[in-house]
Structure formats: C-alpha cells, structure tokens
C-alpha cells in the first residue's frame, strides 16, 4: 500500500510542476511576454510529460516568428498526440506550407485521427482480443465467423505494428534554417546535399556532436543541433 502510494506521488509530482509551468506560460502570454511563455512551456518537457496543447502552442508561436523548423516539429508532435483538435490540424497545414511541403495525405490524416482515438496500446489490446476470439470461434466449429474475426484480427495486428513502429523509428525534423549533409562528421568534410528547415530526415548514429541522417535517399552528417527528434 505504501509502495503504491509512493509510486502515485512520484507520478503526480511532474504533472503538478507541469501544471504550474503551463499556468505561468498562459499568464505570460496574457501579459504579452511570449518569450517568457515559450521558456516556461519548453521547461515542461523536462518534467517528462507532454501534451498536445503545449506542442500546439509552441508550434504556433514558432510559426508566428517564422521559425519553420520548430513550428513543424511541435505541430507534428501535437498531431500525433491529439489530431482531433481542429486548431492543431490547421496550424500543421500552415507549418507544412511554410516548409514547402504539401498537405498531409488523406491516409495520414485518417491514421492520425485513428491514433487520437485508439492509442498504440489500445490497438495492441484489440489485436490480441480479436485473435483470441477468432480462435475460440473456430474451436466452436463456427468456421465462417471464425474466418471473419481472424481477418479483422490480422488487420488490427498490422495496424498495431505500424503504430508501434512509428513510435520506435528514429525520425527528426530539421530545425536549423539549413544545414549541409557532409560525408563525414566534420565541418571540413565535403557536402553532399543540403537540408532546410522543416524537412523530415531519418536519424542514424551520433558522433562527436554530429548526427548521421538520411534525407530523400541521401545519407550524410549534420550538426546534432540542426535536427530534433520528432
């Protein structure tokens, strides 16, 4: 009992601090101190918690000041956390336009909305439940119902795997205005391509302040500060 209470208190402490920082940021916004608000809200990430509202606000303020990279970064995060908010989708579309990227494809929108309703953990639970149900029905000699349930379980398993892969795959957004992809982790190395703010890149190894990334099939090294993980 005591252990459970301690665990509960440990979990509640970051949320309480996050609440305080959120309210501080909201008050500073009301006073017109946007820089202070951004600092307060960025501090919430250090508490180990996240929120679609915070990511939306940080992305919106970045969009206002023309910081395309951070605008897309925060708004993509917000969409993944809760795509059901219309403001999030609207601002993400603006950020993508500012980054020179078109609107999200329909499947992506639908996928994000599904993710807002059923998180990856829910998809995993649903896939397991359907799989066991299909097995039970087959054992009861209800072959047609069993086949239907089995097909549904298969689709759910694929969806759950995709959702988990998306959370696992190291993908980042370029937050520097632009950066050269270099052949080696050194400023003296030859540049092979250039990425711009708001582009999505696949993350690779890190080495001495540099990060290997892949953009449009081209691999190279950029300064670690030039990209931020989605």
């Amino acid at each position: 009992m005591t252990l459970a209470l301690l665990l509960l208190l440990q979990a509640a402490a970051p949320a309480a601090e996050a609440d305080r920082l959120f309210e501080t940021g909201a008050r500073l916004i009301a006073e017109g101190d946007t820089a202070g608000a951004v600092a307060a809200w960025e501090g919430i990430a250090e508490q180990g918690v996240a929120s679609a509202a915070i990511e939306h606000n940080l992305g919106t303020l970045a969009l206002e000041r023309g910081d395309v990279g951070r605008a897309r970064l925060h708004l993509e995060r917000a969409a993944r956390l809760d795509a059901s908010r219309p403001g999030v989708a609207h601002n993400l579309r603006l950020a993508r336009q500012a980054a020179g990227v078109g609107d999200r494809p329909v499947w992506r929108v639908a996928w994000d909305r599904l993710g807002a309703v059923v998180p990856p953990g829910g998809l995993v639970a649903l896939a397991l439940a359907l799989s066991f149900a299909a097995l039970g029905v087959v054992l009861l000699e209800r072959r047609r119902l069993g086949a239907a349930l089995g097909a549904l379980a298969l689709v759910t398993v694929v969806a759950a795997s995709a959702a988990l892969w998306e959370r696992t795959a190291p993908v980042a957004i370029v937050v520097a205005s632009e950066a050269d992809l270099r052949e080696a982790p050194s400023a003296a190395a030859r540049g092979v391509a250039r990425v711009r703010a708001g582009e999505v890149v696949a993350l690779g190894d890190a080495e001495a302040g540099w990060r290997r990334v892949e953009a449009d099939g081209v691999e190279g090294w950029v300064p670690e500060a030039a990209v931020e993980r989605l």
Partner: protein, 603 residues
C-alpha cells in the same frame, strides 16, 4: 626636441604707462583698431631668441613673428644690460603667405658685451589693425667663450618622418608626421608629395595638418623653422618589423640672401636683402615600427578592436505599435580603427524580428590621436503586443595603454509593443494560425517506451497462433486416419457415386450410360459385390447373398441391363435415353443400402 625659449603674448593686459605711450603714438588709429578688432583670435605676435645663454662676444638672433594680418613698420627693441643691438637693420624681414596664412618674420642680431644679465625690451606692434604687446626677454651672458661645436646640418631644408611610437600592438594607432625643417632664410610656400608611398602592413588614415605656421626649433645648435606638412594615422595589421618607405616632397620656396653693397653710397636707399623663388626636392627617410601581436586571452566575440573606446546605446522609441520598427543605435567612439570595428551582436527576444545592423562611420581627422565614431543601427520589429527585453550585448576591445582586454556592453533595452499579443492576433485572423490552447492540458508521458507493447503483441499473438496451428494439425491428422476406416471409405464412395452421376448428367449416349453403370458398380461395391468383375449370370445370386431385397435386386439388374443396351445397342427399339437412365439411377442409388447386411456373407 629642443625648442628655443619663446615669449608670446595675445591680448596683453593694459598698463597705465603703456596706454599713455600708445595713445601718443597711435592716437586715432588705435581707437579705430579697437573698434574694428572684434574677436582677437586671429592676430598674434611672438618673440623668440636663438639662445638663452651665450658667451661674451657671441651674438644671438631675436626673432619677431607676426601672424594674422599685415603689419606696419617695426623698430628693433633696445638691448640693455649685457646685450647690445648689433645693427638696427634687421637680419631678416620676410612676409610669406603659406597655405593661405600671412606671416611676417623680422629678426635682429644682438651682441653679448659683458657678463651678467642681458635684456631685450618689450615692444608694441600693430598686426591686422590690432595693437599687440610683446614682452621683454632676458638672457644670461657667461664670461667664458663657449667651446661647444654644434653639429650644424649642412642642409638648408630637409624633411623627417617622426612617429608617435616605435613599437605598437597589432591594430594600435601610430601617427607619423612628416616635418619640413628649414633655415630662417628659406620660406617654403607650397609642398606636394611626389610619387606613391608604400606602407605595407598598415591600414592608413590621412589626417589634417592642424597649423601651417612654422615653429622655431634648434637642431645641432642651429636655428631652424619646422612645419608639419603631412600627418597619417597608421594601424598595423600584422606583427613584425614593418617599414614605412621614404617619402619625397616637392617644395616651392623663397630664398632670401643679404646683398653685398660694399662701399656703395646708395646702399641705405635700398633693401639689404634679395629674394628669389626656387624649388627643392626633399626626401624623408624610411622609418621602422616594431609591431607586436595581441596577447592571449581575448574574450569570446573579440573582433580585433584596439584602442580606447566608449559605447553608448540610444533607442528612438521605447513604445510602439506591434509591427512597427524600433531603432536601437549602438555608438562606439574612440581611438581605434573605426573602419574595421564590428557591430555588437544583439540577440533579439523571441517575438521580435531583427534586421542586420546598418553601420555609419565617421573619422575626425583633426584630432590627435585620430578618433572615430561607428554607429550601428539595429531595426527591431515586435511581432505582437507585449513587453520585450533586448538583452545587453557584449563588445570587447584591447586597450594597449593597460595591456588588457576590456568589455563594454550595450544597455538592456525594454520595448513596449501596443496591440494584441501573438496569440490574440492569431485568433483574430481566420487565415492565420489557430489560437493557442490555454485550457488545462491532458498530460501524457513524453516519448513513452513502446518496447513492452512490442513484447505484449508478439507474446499475445503467439498463443492463438500456436493454438490455431495445433488445431489445424489435429484435424488434418484425423482426416488422414478417417480415410482408411469403413466410414471414411463409405464417404469416399458416396463422393465417387455423386461424381459419376454428375458426369452422366453432363454427357449423353453411351458415355452417359457408362458413367451411370460405374455409379451403380460403386454402390454395389459398398455391399461387397464387385459387379464390374462378375459374370452377368452370377450377379443375381451375389445380390441376393448381399441381402438385397428382390425388388431392389431386380431394379438394379434392369438398370445395368439398360446401361448395357445404351452402350452396345443404342439403335434398337426400346433402348432408353441417357437422361432416362440418370433419372432411374438416382432413386435406385438412394434406395440401395450403404453397407452389407450383417447376416450376409460374401461368396
């Protein structure tokens, strides 16, 4: 540099005795001069002697320099005590206009007659309509003749490069003056540099020459006049022994010589001097400056500024509407090289757009050392309403006087922008970004680990998958086992009978009859009667032995007979059609038992 004693007077205080004398001598002219004089800044009268100490029998030169306008006749001041005027005729009386300034120099010789103190009286002169007083001069006369042998320059006129310092740090200001020296009988009128001048390793700024008036100096015991003809501020750009190349000048001059009248009886009616214009080329020798590198320990952001500086921050407006520009000016003034000063790096707060600073630079070329001002103007535009604080920006320089780096800072500037904040502005614009979300958020774990979900999915799926595979394996095994049992065989036969009948329906004539016959054979085979291999006459008894009812036996034999006729005598009268065979076969096959009666024993 040794300089002769100088007695100079500007607007002397009047004394009663002198005023009386002046009233006598100048009368109405003096009153007119006072009325017209105005500010007394332009006229001067200076007296100097070539030496303050001399031996008995030696001569000194008393020079009177009048500047700022034309002057009338001047009588030599009387010598008293140990000095005596050698001749009332001046040894020099020259009026020159140099760079637009009029100057007259008059000189007389005085002889030391005995030891003690000698005195040259003061006098009053009129220059440019203004009466000026010149103070008396005293000298000391020693008894013994001077034994010194001064090193007299043989040159009448020459130039030298005089540097303000011979060692400097990189970037430290060094002033080089080119000074023209000439003897009193020479009056330079104009100078012009010849050719180019090389000063590799220096950034150069030409300075203005403050005064064109020569000054009296003594070099090697000889009286000279000196005038600065060019002044340049140098800023070394690299370390090492840097050389200033020699510089040549073309000098237009007036040379005065004393006439030799000898016993000419008309000599008193003529001036004792003759003058002629001339031209000389003089060369200032090269000079070397030792330049040291800057010491280590430069602060971050040091941009190479060397000298003494001040930094001032000015803001044109501290309160504006959102979207309007605010100009912040950082003014850096000092003795360094203004042309290369870098702007302080101002970091605007978020929500404020900043443009690259605009630089205006100005150099004051008359000041010594050379001074300059660089004004960096930053344009800041608040994007929304609110109070924004522009933090102080550091700016570092090296002060060679103290030998250390120093850091100045711009002021922290607070800008108040009126109007809606970014969030409010966003909400008001339908085409702009959606408003901020300020309601209480729902917290989730930031970037939760999904590894356990992978494990749960894989582990959870493995159970039904394994179970399904096991079930499938069991059923397949059962199916294989069932195929060898009587029930399985019956099933397989029933399937074969249905297949035959379906084939017969699709065919016609003998082929259909053959399929019907095979179906009947299959059905009889289930009763243990291999009808296909038995002779026709044996078949009835075998059917009886299999326990088949007589009526069913006869229908079976009749169907087989009809099948034979359709196959082998299709044209005969009374031969049924294939469809009739199939129609007869279906009820028969349904009526035939699926297994042999238990009491029946096959033969």
């Amino acid at each position: 540099m040794p300089v002769r004693d100088l007695a100079r007077s500007r607007l002397p205080k009047p004394k009663p005795k002198q005023l009386l004398r002046a009233a006598f001598r100048l009368g109405a002219l003096a009153a007119l001069a006072v009325a017209l004089a105005g500010p007394a800044s332009g006229q001067t009268a200076d007296a100097s002697v070539s030496s303050r100490g001399l031996a008995v029998g030696e001569e000194l030169t008393y020079s009177l320099t009048l500047r700022g306008g034309r002057s009338g006749p001047v009588d030599p001041p009387a010598g008293s005590g140990a000095l005596r005027l050698s001749s009332p005729i001046p040894t020099l009386d020259i009026t020159t206009t140099f760079n637009g300034e009029t100057e007259r120099r008059v000189a007389w010789a005085y002889e030391a007659t005995r030891t003690g103190v000698g005195r040259i009286d003061g006098l009053r002169v009129t220059v440019g309509g203004r009466s000026l007083r010149v103070d008396p001069v005293q000298v000391r006369v020693s008894p013994a003749p001077a034994a010194s042998a001064p090193t007299v320059s043989s040159d009448e006129i020459f130039a030298r490069a005089e540097v303000s310092r011979e060692t400097a740090f990189i970037g430290q200001q060094v002033i080089v003056e080119y000074v023209l020296y000439f003897q009193p009988q020479i009056q330079p009128r104009q100078t012009a540099p010849i050719g180019t001048w090389d000063a590799a390793g220096f950034w150069r700024e030409e300075m203005e020459v403050p005064s064109a008036y020569p000054r009296s100096v003594t070099l090697g015991g000889e009286p000279y006049e000196a005038v600065t003809i060019r002044r340049i501020a140098l800023f070394p750009t690299r370390a090492g022994e840097l050389e200033l190349a020699e510089m040549r000048f073309d000098v237009d001059l007036l040379r005065t010589t004393t006439r030799g009248f000898g016993a000419d009886p008309f000599a008193p009616f003529f001036s004792p001097f003759s003058s002629r214009y001339d031209e000389e080329e003089v060369t200032a020798p090269a000079a070397t400056i030792t330049v040291r590198p800057l010491p280590d320990g430069a602060p971050p952001g040091f941009g190479g500024a060397v000298g003494q500086f001040e930094l001032e921050t000015v803001v044109d407006e501290r309160q504006v509407e959102a979207g309007e520009a605010v100009e912040v000016r950082a003014t850096i003034s000092g003795t360094g090289n203004t042309a290369t000063l870098r702007a302080p790096q101002i970091e605007p707060p978020r929500g404020v757009d900043a443009y690259a600073p605009r630089a205006d630079r100005e150099v004051f070329r008359t000041a010594e050392p050379l001074r300059g001002v660089a004004v960096f103007a930053y344009t800041l535009v608040p994007q929304g309403g609110g109070v924004f604080e522009v933090p102080a920006a550091p700016w570092s320089y090296f002060d060679p006087a103290d030998g250390q780096y120093k850091t100045l800072r711009t002021e922290t500037v607070e800008i108040t922008a009126l109007g809606p904040s970014l969030a409010e502005a966003a909400a008001a614009d339908p085409d702009g970004p959606a408003a901020l979300i300020l309601s209480a958020p729902v917290w989730e774990r930031a970037r939760p680990s999904v590894t356990w979900l992978w494990v749960a999915l894989a582990g959870g799926l493995s159970l039904p998958l394994l179970a399904g595979l096991g079930l499938l394996a069991v059923r397949m095994g059962r199916r294989r086992l069932g195929a060898a049992s009587p029930r399985g065989r019956r099933k397989r036969l029933a399937s074969a009978i249905r297949t035959r009948l379906d084939a017969a329906r699709a065919l016609d004539g003998p082929a259909a009859a053959a399929e019907v016959e095979r179906a009947v054979h299959a059905a009889l085979d289930r009763l243990g009667v291999p009808a296909a291999t038995l002779p026709a006459h044996v078949l009835p008894s075998r059917l009886d032995a299999a326990g088949l009812a007589p009526e069913l036996r006869d229908r079976t034999l009749a169907l087989l007979d009809a099948c034979g006729r359709v196959q082998y005598a299709p044209g005969l009268a009374g031969t049924p059609s294939a469809s009739a065979l199939v129609a007869d076969a279906e009820p028969l096959l349904a009526d035939l038992p699926t297994e042999r009666a238990s009491e029946a024993v096959p033969a």
